[in-house]
Amino acid sequence: MNTPDRTTQPPLKQIDSLSIGQPKTIVHSNGLTQHTFESNNHDAVRLDLIFKAGTAMQSKLLAASTTNRMLKEGTTKHSGHHIASRMDYHGAYIDLTTTKDYCWASLFALKKSIPRLLPLLAEMIKEPAFKPADFRILNSQQKQDFVVNSQKPKHMARQLFNEMIFGAETPYGQSATVSDFDKLSRSDLAEFHSRFYNHRNATLILAGAIDESVQKAVNDHFSDEWGSAGIAQTVMQQSVQATGEHWTEKPGSLQSAIQMGKLAMKRNHPDFAGFIMLNTVLGGYFGSRLMSNIREDKGYTYGIYSQIAPFEHDAYFTIATEVGREVTRAALDEIHYEINKLRTEAIPYDELQLVRNYLTGSYLRGLDGPYNQSEKFRSILGIPQGMDYFTQTLQTIQTVTADELLVLAKRYLDPESMLTIVVGEKIS
């Protein structure tokens, strides 16, 4: 047996270029577009029915997310208890999600159950009952979650950040207060539903074991015309970003939640892929500069991350962490130090190579298998290149130079242009 050389890393092999297939796309007779990621290796089906009906479209706070969550709580024909029992009986799950731009229902079920479950799913989407008693329970649950979250420094910081990065009066910056739960009524939900939940405003994504029986069930229940309204109007998001450091006192808090950042470019911007690199170097992975400095060298925090949050009509870049009360100022100084370093010194070749490899591996994982692919595809819905978007992004990641990244850092990461929120106890 050969004795291993433990002092040097075994030679690395170049990762083959990713083969990312486009989904098969068809248009139903009612105009509904369906994208399919088919696989013979699996028994399960994932179905996402997506509507352009996010929080940015609501004319009343909480209407979008509550409408979406009420889909499970009962239809004109079946109770919420019946829906839940039936899904459980078939070992299926339905997740309901609302973002700023979209909301969707994801059904995860075994292939053989699909023909039995789609009638119920169609009913939930098309004929939710919004019964007052069910609405009262859900609304009070959501209100309680909101009140509990309002005590968490991280959530307080996140909400303030969102308000001040977009502007509190804008579609993206709006945020609810506890009294908004009392102002919401079931008729707001019925109205939101009738405006946005129709076949013209929807997209369907299927993944996994999609055979004829599954496709037939889909055709039977989703290729008709339902709902009356047309396509959702475009959201007018004109962000008004604040800058400077804003403290919210939380007496007795052992840690301070910090969130800082600024508006950023959207996905289709030519600098976006380069900005992904910058973000990763700074705070986008465990080996990032922020994590190495503030956690692994100083021990100020359990974790610190940065990320880019792209939406349809705007985007932001942000750094978030929770740090010990006593080291809040020191942590802020170190964050500034790392940002400025990125703006004044080119990223060393070795680090750049590492991040390229890390990101390539991360795309490899994120795009492995039909369910992951469909989820990635959903995240870029509206990007015309489809899955090629990821191939192109990876190409930039492989080729962008340290000098180009320095230019981007100077252009986009000026700390003076950033907003900083701190929630905690200020000590002098």
């Binding site: 047996m1 004795t3 291993p4 433990r6 890393q9 075994p10 690395l12 092999k13 990762i15 083959d16 699996h42 028994d43 399960a44 919420g80 208890h81 839940a84 029992s85 899904m87 459980d88 009986y89 078939h90 070992g91 299926a92 799950y93 995860f108 079920a109 075994l110 329970i137 009070s140 649950q141 009140v147 509990v148 005590q151 968490k152 420094p153 808090s253 052992l254 840690q255 992975y285 465990f286 080996g287 956690r295 692994e296 100083k298 021990g299 100020y300 925090t301 359990y302 010990g324 590492l354 991040v355 490899n357 890390y358 390539t360 591996g361 490899l364 994982r365 492995d368 298998g369 369910y371």
Partner: protein, 413 residues
């Protein structure tokens, strides 16, 4: 059905290989058979602190994460009362980096004062972030010592108190490593587009030379049968009152575990469950309520926990929980309801198996319970549960004298 091969190196290190030619990713999972239950009561939180130190550099590799990220990989780890588990995924062509990294930190750690000092602080911040600085964060810090009086499950993985972590010394770290981090106390699973002969070659090359350590014989003080109902009421600055009620139950490897797991589903998993239908939808006492089993290797807990609606008396709410739960010990269950929870559990196992990393973990955990193939037998074990067994276990477990109730009361109500 998960296929796998198994082999053991002369130093006692066990390997499981799961071949999947459809994925470009490889997963490696390493379990060390040591958890918070192996700590002494004046040094709690140590197994978890140690998990952090495993990333602080090994004898030949100053930084664990960097070479892995350079290979396109990613990793993490967790500690619980029973085990410490490390896992990574990377592109399959760089598999040897995984063997190099993991064998080096099994061979010897770097033991630096600086790494210990920093990770002590990081863990203290983790303690604050997850347990002290958020509403309801200390519930398990209260519930575990209420339910356990002798078994080490009485403390949480994070530790009893921050001071235990602050006092850990480098000598403690060395002793812990020498005692538990040996090839004969670990299980490695490799999953992906790789064959058993390939894994054997790499395993022998990288892990073969690591000497075996002393056999780790576990002698834990076992919990005496509880004979009296225990209750604890605390007042906290939170908006809503919560109730946790925990009954002692069997250990994970026992047959009755599957019955109780199904009971927890039919009582309190999801919106079709009995507790939700009765206490949230019908009586409107709770805004949320769930039931679950702790699933520990030693005898564990069956837990019902719920958040009360404002102005509901917590003692009345506990009575309401009792009534729903006790119905199982008096009335036989209907087949349809049992079939529902069985279907759900079995399909959940199938969904879990979609992820390569989950497959690697589940095979490892099963092997640690005695046999990797246990995972394949799970659907059969759940199918065997019947109404009689449910009735029997409900009577066995849901006795008031076997229960521990924590009322976590909102101060201003």
């Amino acid at each position: 059905m998960l296929t796998f091969d198994r082999f053991t190196l002369p130093n006692g290190l066990r390997f499981i290989v799961h071949h999947d030619p459809t994925t470009p990713v490889l997963a490696m999972n390493i379990l060390y058979d040591v958890g918070a239950r192996d700590e002494s009561e004046d040094q709690t939180g140590f197994a978890h602190l140690f998990e952090h130190l495993m990333f602080g550099g090994s004898v030949n590799i100053p930084k664990y994460d960097e070479p892995l990220q350079r290979a396109g990989g990613e990793n993490n780890a967790f500690t619980n009362s029973d085990i410490t588990n490390y896992y990574l995924t990377l592109p399959v062509q760089n598999v040897e980096t995984a063997f190099w990294l993991e064998s080096d930190r099994m061979l010897n750690l770097a033991f630096s004062e600086k790494s210990l000092e920093v990770q002590r602080q990081v863990v203290v911040e983790e303690f604050r972030q997850n347990y002290l600085n958020q509403p309801y964060g200390d519930i398990w810090l209260l519930l575990k010592p209420l339910a356990y009086k002798t078994h080490p499950y009485q403390w949480n993985t994070i530790g009893k108190e921050v001071s235990h972590i602050e006092q850990a010394s480098l000598q403690d770290v060395r002793n812990f490593y020498a005692r538990f981090y040996n090839p004969n106390n670990a299980i490695v699973t490799v999953a992906g587009n790789i064959t058993t002969p390939e894994v054997k070659l790499l395993a022998g090359k990288w892990f073969g030379p690591i000497p075996a350590g002393p056999a780790n014989v576990r002698k834990l003080p076992q919990e005496a049968v509880q004979l009296e109902k225990r209750s604890l009421v605390v007042d906290r600055d939170v908006p809503y009152t919560k109730i946790y009620k925990a009954w002692h139950m069997c250990a994970r490897p026992e047959e009755a575990y599957y019955t109780l797991d199904l009971i927890s589903d039919l009582l309190g998993s999801g919106h079709s469950s009995r507790l939700y239908a009765e206490l949230v939808r019908r009586q409107k006492l709770f805004s949320e309520i769930t039931a679950y089993v702790s699933g520990d290797n030693d005898p564990g807990l069956f837990v019902v926990s719920g958040k009360l609606n404002p102005n509901v008396d917590p003692f009345m709410a506990e009575e309401a929980i009792n009534r729903v739960v006790m119905e199982l010990s008096t009335k036989k269950l209907h087949d349809t309801e049992l079939r529902k929870v069985k279907n759900k559990v079995i399909s959940t196992l199938a969904y879990e198996n979609i992820s390569l990393l989950n497959r690697a973990m589940n095979l490892t955990f099963s092997e640690n319970l005695g046999d990797a193939n246990l995972f394949n037998q799970l659907p059969g074990f759940y199918r065997k549960v019947n109404a009689d067994k449910v009735f029997e276990q409900a009577n066995e477990v849901f006795r008031e004298t076997n229960s521990n109730t924590l009322i976590y009361r909102a101060k201003n109500q």
